[in-house]
Each structure stands twice: as C-alpha cells, then as structure tokens.
C-alpha cells in the first residue's frame, strides 16, 4: 500500500547568519491511508513547524514531502490544499469572530469550487450535521457557540473540503474533559466512516493512547521514537518517551501501576 503522506529526510531551519534555529532535523515518516499518527512532543519539539510544512504554510529547507505517491510541491495546487486540512487548538481564534459559522465553513467550498454556488449552503449545513450540530447554526456567530461546538465547526470546515488528511493540532487541549471525550469520539467516528487519515499533534499521552495507531515522539526537532501505540506504552525504547509517560497525570490504580513499572524498568 502506498502511504498517503511521506516525509523523507525533512529539515527546516529559520533565521540566517548567527541566529540559525534548526526547528526540524532530518525527519522521515509515513502516514498510511486511514491511519491516525500521533505526533507527540513538548514545546520547542518542532511539531508545529512540522504541521506547517505538511500544510504548505511554508516550505522545507531540505528533504521531500510526498502525497499519495507523488511529490508535494511547496506551492500547492488547490487539489492538494483541499486534500490536506487543519483543525487548530483554539477554536475561539480559529473561527473569524466577525463572520458567521457558515461563512467560515463555506470558504473552502468557494475556493475549491466544490458544488454549484447555489448548493453550497446546503453542503455547509450537511457538514454541520455530520459533526452533530443543527443546520441552523450556519447563521450564528462563533461567539454564540460553546467551546466544544466551535471545535465541531472547525472539524466541519475540514470535512466540507473533502479532505483526505487532517492535521489536528492539539484539537482538544483547550476543552473540558467531558467535551474532550465527545470531540475525540466524533473524530474517531469520522475517521472510520470516511477513511480519513490524521496527523494528531498533542502533548497529552493519555489521549494518544486511545486514538492513535502509531506514535512519533519528537524532542528538539528530532524524531526520537516512532512505533505502534501499544509498543510505545508497554515497551518504550527511549528514556525520553518513558519520562513523558511518567509525567502524565493519571486517575486509576492500574495506570499508576503501569507508570511505576515503566519507572522501575527505566532504572534497570
């Protein structure tokens, strides 16, 4: 099977002269069709830079990106743009406060010419319905929605563009746990129903454990470990991964035990 997205030795540096910052160094990984790959790391790990390169916000300094078996240029065609979409962390800022929710969702349809202009409002409403929002939310301003509802709108915006790969940049970390659980479930259901692939960027390992197929751990711009989710949690190879898991605040006894065993293994 050809991967949907491949990164081959991708690096990114910022600045010039004495002030070079290497944000991403020599990173390679694949995302298969229908797969959810979690990208885990703390601040300064380069995960946002990575996301921006995948989305074509800026180009890589070296290396190659491939999409669906073909090289992905920095200047994206509309086809590429519609196929790769984004859901951001803060739904409060990712929706324009001065435009209706519907207008924000519709933007992609207009840009890509999806549907005829007269059909687009009903496509927007269909997308809203798909994420569990009433059709008449289309006319509301973002301020009239709760945090969870806004995040659903952001997801609807990505769906409406008929995307195949969605970059989820900390999509639930600004939400309360009860809302987070519902949004995560929605994301899972949509992935299964539509065969979507996710690049799920997060710092929350307990979320990763339950949504990702594979996990890529980043530290200071480098990929330190990439493996199946189960393997990462039960048998992490890198100390840094172990540290990350050890720092997760947990609620049940079993989890504490898991953490303790990881910690003792790490010492031996």
């Amino acid at each position: 099977m050809t991967p949907l997205l491949s990164l081959k030795n991708v690096s990114k540096t910022f600045g010039h002269g004495d002030h070079i910052v290497q944000a991403v160094r020599d990173v390679s990984f694949d995302v298969m069709p229908g797969e959810c790959l979690a990208v885990v790391g703390e601040s300064g790990s380069g995960k946002t830079t990575l996301a921006n390169m995948i989305l074509g916000v800026f180009g890589q300094s070296s290396g190659e990106l491939w999409f669906d078996g073909k090289p992905l240029p920095t200047r994206r065609t509309l086809e590429h743009r519609s196929a790769i979409q984004l859901v951001q962390q803060n739904p409060l800022s990712s929706l324009n406060p001065k435009r209706s929710v519907g207008a924000s969702v519709r933007l992609g349809l207009d840009v890509y010419g999806i549907g005829s202009p007269s059909d687009r409002w009903s496509l927007v409403e269909a997308a809203l319905e798909e994420v569990g929002l009433p059709r008449d939310f289309r006319k509301r301003p973002p301020a009239a929605l709760s945090g969870g509802q806004r995040q659903r709108v952001a997801i609807a915006r990505a769906l409406a563009c008929q995307s195949r790969l969605v970059v989820l940049d900390e999509p639930t970390s600004a939400l309360d746990v009860l809302v987070q659980a519902r949004v995560l479930r929605l994301l899972n259901d949509l992935r299964a129903a539509k065969g979507l692939s996710y690049v799920f960027i997060t710092h929350d390992l307990s979320v990763v454990r339950n949504v990702a197929d594979r996990v890529a751990v980043f530290k200071s711009g480098q990929l330190v470990e990439c493996a199946e989710t189960g393997a990462i949690f039960e048998n992490p190879r890198e100390d840094y991964t172990r540290q990350l898991i050890g720092a997760v605040p947990v609620v049940t006894r079993e989890e504490i035990e898991l953490r303790n065993t990881l910690a003792t293994e790490g010492q031996t």
């Binding site: 979409q85 984004l86 962390q89």
Partner: protein, 277 residues
C-alpha cells in the same frame, strides 16, 4: 447595533455627547430655518448694529460689521461638518487599504508602505497642512485636500497595527491553509475585525478635523471670508480682546461644544465596541 445604541443612550455622559452631536448636525443641516439672520452668512454690512454685546435680538452679539454672530456660527458648523465628512470619506479608505495590506502581507510591501506612512507622520500634522496651504491657494477645496493628505497615514497606522496582530490569529491561518486569496483574507477576514476601531476613530476624528480646519483658518490659511468659519472668527475677534469678548468666546465655545460632543460619543463607542487601539 441596537445594543450599542441602547448603551449609548443609557450612559449620561454619552447621552450628552449624542445630544451635542445631534444639535450641531441638525443646526448645520437646518441652518436656513434656525439662524435668525440667514443672510448674515455672506458679506452683509449693517453698521447700525456693529459690535454689539449679546442682547435679546442678537443672543451672541454682532461682529464688527454688524452681522449676527449666532447665525454665522450655525453656518460655520455646516462648513466644518462638510469638511470633516469629506476628509474622512477620502482619508479613511486610503489609510485603511494601505494599513491592511502592509500589516497582512508583510515583507517588502510592509517596509515600503509603512516608511511612506512614516514620512507623512514625521511632519507634525498642522505643519504639513500649513505648508500645503502655503503653496496652494487658500480655498475650502484646498483645505480639504491638505487635511486629507495629513489624515490618511493615521488610519494606515491604526489598521496596520490591528492587521499585524490579527495576522497571528487562527482564523487567518485557517484561511491561508484553505488557500484563500490575499484580497479575500485582507478584505473579508481581517477588515471586519478592524471596523470597530476604524468607526471609533472616525467619530473621534470628526472632532479633530474640525480642530485642524479651524486652526488653518485661524492662521488665515483656510476658508476665506466672507464664508463664516469658527477659526477665522476667533482670529478676527482676538484683536478686540478683552472689550469685545463675545467675538472670540462664542466661536471658541462653539468649537469646544462640537468637538466635545464627537469625543464623548467616540469614547463611549470605544468602550462599547471594545476597540482599544
């Protein structure tokens, strides 16, 4: 919109502002019906009644050629308001576009546009207008031109600052990722978020344009006699202080009242629309 109006009318200070603005605007529009001596806006001479202190017929007194001061002040409002509206109607769109694109596009566009703006901002506002009026003929038309030339950079700067901070907002990134065009992002996404601040500044600026225009004519570089203008009326009367105090005090107070009204409303708008800088 409705909410804005309700809050505006509920607060005593902004209510006073609304009333003052309404008084000035209405008297300017209906000057022909309100002014006791409409013909005094021109070069009428009535030496029998010249230089009279305020009295029952001429509630603000008469000037040196016997014209009713109250009538002339009302007509002067008309000139000031027309000037303010025209200046802002031209300066605001120019400044907004410059600031919007400089702030959103960044890079070379930003450097060139903002240095150009800096050039205009580096000449104290009044001095630029004075200099322009110096080389041009002092007419109403040229006064508007001069004031407009010094006004647009302030909007460029205001909108530039907002656009630069809005550029960092998630919704701009979202639109960029989708692939929306630069004009779309600048005009449809960012501009609506600048509007409250622009609207507030326009209200406050109505007052400032009145100040600048009257300053020009105070120096003899603006609207020329016999057209009634508050600035030239003060200038004319200043030579007859303190005996004919009404010649300066009433036109001076008229400026104060008009500008104060616009400022009160502008301040209230700023608070309601949350448009701080």
């Amino acid at each position: 919109m409705k909410r804005t109006l309700v809050i505006l009318l509920r607060n005593p200070l902004s209510l006073i502002g609304v009333i003052l603005v309404a008084l000035v605007v209405l008297s300017a529009i209906f000057a022909d019906f309100i002014a006791p001596f409409p013909e005094h806006r021109g070069s009428v001479v009535d030496f029998v009644n010249f230089n009279k202190a305020p009295n029952a017929t001429n509630i603000m007194g008469t000037d040196l050629v016997g014209r009713d001061l109250f009538s002339r002040i009302i007509y002067a409002f008309r000139i000031s308001l027309v000037l303010g509206v025209v200046v802002l109607a031209i300066a605001t769109p120019i400044g907004t576009l410059v600031g919007l694109f400089a702030g959103y596009v960044g890079g070379k566009t930003e450097f060139i546009l903002m240095r150009l703006t800096d050039v205009f901002l580096s000449i104290p506002p009044l001095v630029l207008a004075i200099a322009m009026m110096g080389v041009l003929e002092p007419t109403l038309m040229n006064a508007m031109l001069a004031v407009t030339a010094m006004w647009w950079p302030w909007y460029a700067r205001l909108v530039y600052n907002i656009a630069r901070s809005e550029r960092e907002e998630g919704y701009v990134l979202a639109a960029e990722v989708i692939g929306a065009s630069t004009p779309h992002i600048a005009l449809r996404e960012i501009l609506p978020n600048c509007l409250p601040a622009i609207l507030t500044k326009m209200t406050l600026d109505m007052g400032f344009v009145i100040i600048i225009a009257s300053s020009l004519s105070f120096l003899g570089l603006g609207v020329q006699p016999p057209t009634p203008d508050l600035g030239s009326m003060v200038a004319e009367g200043a030579r007859y202080l303190p005996d004919s105090w009404w010649l300066t005090v009433f036109p001076g107070l008229a400026i104060l009242i008009a500008v104060f009204g616009f400022n009160l409303v502008g301040d209230a708008l700023r608070e309601i629309l949350g448009a701080d800088q």
